[in-house]
Every structure is written in C-alpha cells, then in structure tokens.
Amino acid sequence: MPFLNPTTYQKAAKTALENPQLRRNLGKATTAIREKRLRVVAELPDWQQLRDAGAAIKTNAMQRLPELLLQLEESVQKAGGKVHWASDAVEANQIVSSIVKSHNAKEVIKIKSITTDEIGLNDALLESGVVAIETDLAELIVQLAHDHPSHILVPAIHKNRSEIRELFLKSFNIKPEDLTDEPRALAEVARRYLRQKFLTVPVAISGANFAIAETGTVSVVESEGNGRMCLTLPKVLISIMGIEKVLPELRDLEVMLQLLPRSSTAERMNPYTSLWTGVHADDGPQEFHLVLLDNGRTKVLGDEVGRQALHCIRCSACLNVCPVYERAGGHAYGSVYPGPIGAILTPQLIGLETAHAQSLPFASSLCGACYEVCPVKINIPEILVYLRGEVVKEKTGFFNLEGAALKSMAWVFMDAKRYELAQQAARVGQIPFAKNNKISSLAGFMTGWTNSRDLPSVPKQSFRDWWRENKGKS
C-alpha cells in the first residue's frame, strides 16, 4: 500500500467528482456523522474548555518531546517491553520485519493503523515473505479490494454494501445465494475468517492512539473489538507509533478520551479502549515491542507555524465537516492522510518539492469549518495559508503566469494612482468580453471561472469616482 499517489489534487479531484456514486456515498456518510457529532458535543457544557485543555496538553508535550520520549522508553523497558527508534519508513519496516522473522511467523494480524500505512508496512512485510492480515472490518475490505483507505476513521467510506458483498463473494468463494448485503451477514463472513486468524497467528501489529511517558502505557481506541483480540491473543505484540503521540501523564487521557470519541465516531465513549503496560506473566503477549517513528516529524516540529499539525489525534472531524473532502473524497489527496489535516500534514512530512505536495495546501476554500471542530484546536486554515507561502517560495526561479500576475497586481495596489489607472484599463480591456453587464467567457486560466460562472462587468463609475463627484476629495 503506497503512501503516496503523485497525481496533484486538482487532477485527482476532477476524476473523483465525475463519479456520482462516490458523491452520493460521501455526501450521505459525512452529513450523518456531522449531525451526530453536533448532538454529542452539545451535551458537554465544557466542550470549549476541553478543547483548550487538549490543545494545552499537546503544546506542552511537543515542547518537551525529547525528554518525554526518553522517559517513555525507560518506562516501557521497566515494564518489560522493548523500544526501537526508527528515523524513517525503511528503518521501521526493517525493525518490524526482523522481529516477525525471529519468530518464524508467516502471517501477522494487524489493528487498523494509519502509521503502518504511512510507512507501507504491509508491502514491506510481503517482500520478506510475511502476509499481513488487516482485522478492522473496513481495512479488511480495502485490503481484499487492493484499494486504499479514503478516510482516517472510515477507510471504506467510498464503498457501499452491495459493492462489499460482491467483494466478499469473490474473496471468500461464497455462492451468491448464500450471502445477502445485510450488514450483519457481511460482518459474519469477516468474523468467521478473522476468528480463526486471531486464534492461530502468533504476532500482532498495532499503531497507537496515545502513549504515556510517565507509565509506559500504550493505548488503542477502537469500535469492533478486533483490536482487543489482536492485543490479547498473540504471543508477540509490535506497536508502531509516531513520536508525536506521546503524552506526559496518565491523567491526560481524561481529556483526550472525552475529546476523541465525540469528535471521531460521534459517540460519548468508544466501545473498546485498550491500555497496556509492558508484559505480564501468563497474561496477554509475552513479548512487546514499541517502535518510535520519526519519518519527517522532527522536521515538522522545527517549523514554528506548521508544528501545530503534530497535535492531531486522528479523529477525522475535519474530514467530515470539510466541503472539499465531502465532494472530492479521500483519494484525491493522494496520501494516507486525506482531508484538511492531510493537506497540512502530508506536504510537511514529505517536503514541498513535488507537484503533488505543492497542490495540497491549495485544496481548500479556507472556510474554517475544520478549525471550528478540531478537538485540539489546530488552526488548519492558518497553516494552509502559511504553507501556500512556502510553496510559492519553492517555485521561484522559473517563470509562472500566476506569479507574474499577482506580483504586478501588488505593484498596482502599492500606489493609488496606478490602481485608478488599472481600473480605467479594466473598463476598456473588458469590452470584447462584456455583454449585458456580464462576462461569460474569458481566456487562459480564467476559464476556470467562466466555464461555470458569469462575472460582473466593470461599471462605468468606481466608488472612488462617485465619492469624488459627490463628497469631494477626502
């Protein structure tokens, strides 16, 4: 599962928008979860204070990151776990592969984890002869379909149940008359397949929602209970976490576990919250490995404005409220991190050199709905605007039409006389295009506007001309 699709947002969104089924699936799903979230958030009178607390905890944790990570390492080791440091995806995959191989495992079971998608772990394991089996239902669907997740929380949001039935018929050799598209029947098929894996596969791999430096406790939050199976049944457990997931103290979870479920699945509490600390004799995995992954994160931390992106707790509320995500879907972002958070996280993690990365900060109308719902108050529009500046800096050195246009407009705006002359020039320049006080067709990049929208023509008298005539010179 590759981390990136090099297609720019603009191109990928165009294709996605031509798919009416996708538009319907997404519109329906995001509308439902938006309304549900509003209801459960309204139940808490101190929701805004909780958001403030969440933001403060993450800011504090990021400021003390090196110290907290060392403390986490010590706590995990004390509790009988092993800690591994991975600077990038290749290192992380090597670490995991060698642990799996040391147990002669041919299969591993996995808990839904975007971090493992980020590093392309499943493909890396396959190269070393190990099959990774996704146990989250939606992740399993995506895996069986050789597809990619399109949402942080609901990876198969782009598929409906009849599409899933077709997939299961093929993947599990089921006769059509033996399976309906009832959710219960579909879940039963997955349950039977997975139950046998839970009982036989010796190694499990998870991500982490939180890790507590104070105690060495790692936490995974989920809905299905399949994660709990992975965390308790196999002999060996490997957890891979981005270094930004560390929290100072156990009591920080009091805030985070209120913020996360309400923001993500719009539930008061999620069905399964697992917390584990090292290993315990005759109970659960007897070997525990924690892989701490950097993969670009320290670089993000070095950026005064962009570092807020590391506060993300992967709730996906920003995706569900985003009007751009709702129309274009997750695949258009070409990354395992779609939506508004992806638009600020992906380009920072991978760097702004590619056309794909450069397109992401512009995949937003800056409406601010994401910032309004973010449980840890990441000012996503601010970072988008800031990153656009970084993209433009990256692009200098070769001629581009937009840059020339905006720079000359700035030159015009820097002087009121030039500005008035430009107003007059626009009045003359529009003559070939303006009909009945409107412009319906323009050339060049402006066709992006006029293909679907008219523009008003420039009227004879500007406001300042009116003022001069009626109010005299100011």
Binding site: F362, S365, V392, M414, F463, K473
Partner: protein, 247 residues
C-alpha cells in the same frame, strides 16, 4: 461617531453601489465618514495565493494609510477583508518576524469592524429603518461566520427590515466554494460546492440572496446568472440602505 471607510478594492471597482449604500446607511445612522483616497487592497488575495512578501508590503501600506486617520473605527462592508485585517495582519507580521509592524497591525486590527457587527455591537442598533419588499435569504460567508464570529448580527438587522420576508437557508453554514483563487485553481471542486449552495438557495423560493461579502455573492451570483435562475444577489448594505419611498 467618526469612522473611516475601507471600501475594499473589489467593491470600489466592481460593486460601487455597495460602497455608496454603506455611506448612505451609516450617514443616516449619524456617522461622520471619511474615505482615505490612498487606500487600495488589504492583500487578502496575495496572502491566500502564497505571495507573502507582496502581502507584507500591502499590510504596511494599509497601516500607513489608516494610521493617519483620526476616526474611532475603520468599517468595511466585507467580512473576509475585515478577517484579513483582524486575524491575518498580525500573523503575517509575526511570520516575517517584524514585531514593530505586528504591534502596529494589532492596533489597527482592534478598531476594524465589519458593517453588520459595527451597527449591532457599536451603534447598538437592530432596526435601521430600512424597507425592502422582497423574499430574501442570507448567505453567511465563512470569514464573517467563523473568523469574525458575526453570529446573528446580520439576521437581527434583516429581521427588522420592513417588507422583507427572510427565508431560512438550508446548510447555511457551508461554504459556497469561492475561496478566492480556489475557484480558479480547483474549478471542479468549487463548482460542485456552488451547485449544492445554489440548490439550497433555490429551495428557499427567495428572489434575492444577500450576504456581507461581495466576493461570495459574485461567486453565487455568477452561478445563478449562468443558470438563468432569476435569483439575484445583493449586498446586505444595499438592503439596509433602502428606505420607503427611496428605492
């Protein structure tokens, strides 16, 4: 009360009637208005397109122009330009590590207000004596709604307009898809957002869609015009400026 008008480059050039209505309305409400001729653009388009060097120059210029004014407030009939001044002027200076300019920006930011919030929160008026006998729906532009937190100020003003029937708009808080150069850079996504917005507007059966930002209204109006819907877009200032017997 003495105020300075920042009309915005868009209104100055394309929507002079909005600027004229703002002047008519505020003078009727007892304000003494000055219009500094040196004003041009706040730099919002440059910032949102990533041209921070040019933005910083325009911010400095804006401060130079409006610091000379002795008005109590700077009032503007555009939510997004006011959001630019209040929210992003200080940020742009901070990003450029120019603390002196940031201090100046914060002073100007603290006295700059969008038209509807100025009337409701400063002048403490909800009934401005307007008359507008039409069925109207209100589009709450994102910057006004979220960055400025205008809340129900525009609704309070509209509810008191005689003859006006205010039609509630479904999904009123969702973006129309304008987003400045977003509409040109990502025309397909932008148009998909616009078509949903237009559907909601048409469902209200209103004949007029109003709002506090001519940039969004230019976008919505451009779509409604292309579809020949017969629904027009009119800035809130123009509705509030109109009185009985004076169309």
């Amino acid at each position: 009360m003495k105020i300075s008008l920042f009309v915005t480059c868009l209104n100055d050039t394309l929507y002079p009637q909005t600027g004229i209505a703002t002047v008519t309305l505020l003078e009727r409400l007892g304000c003494e208005i000055s219009f500094p001729f040196e004003q041009t653009c706040c730099g919002q388009m440059h910032l949102n397109s990533g041209y921070q060097t040019e933005t910083l120059e325009l911010v400095r210029r804006f401060l130079d122009v409006f610091e000379k004014e002795d008005a109590e407030y700077i009032v503007s009939p555009s939510g997004s330009c006011v959001a630019m001044i209040r929210e992003y002027f200080p940020k742009v200076c901070e990003w450029a590590h120019d603390t002196a300019l940031e201090t100046r920006a914060k002073v100007i930011a603290s006295k700059t207000l969008e038209l509807s919030e100025f009337i409701v929160n400063i002048l403490k008026l909800e009934d401005v004596g307007a008359y507008y006998p039409h069925r109207v729906t209100y589009h709450s532009s994102c910057h006004g709604l979220r960055t400025l937190g205008l809340g129900d100020a525009p609704y309070k003003l509209l509810k008191n307009v005689r003859g006006l029937e205010l039609m509630p708009l479904e999904n009123s808080e969702s973006c129309c898809g304008f987003g400045g150069t977003f509409a040109i850079k990502n025309p397909e996504t932008s148009t998909a957002m616009l078509s949903d917005k237009m559907r909601c507007i048409l469902n209200t059966k209103a004949n007029t869609c109003t709002g506090g930002d001519n940039s969004c209204l230019m976008h919505i109006g451009g779509g409604l015009s292309r579809m020949n819907t017969g629904v027009r877009t009119v800035h809130l200032a123009e509705i509030l400026a109109q009185t009985e017997g004076r169309a």
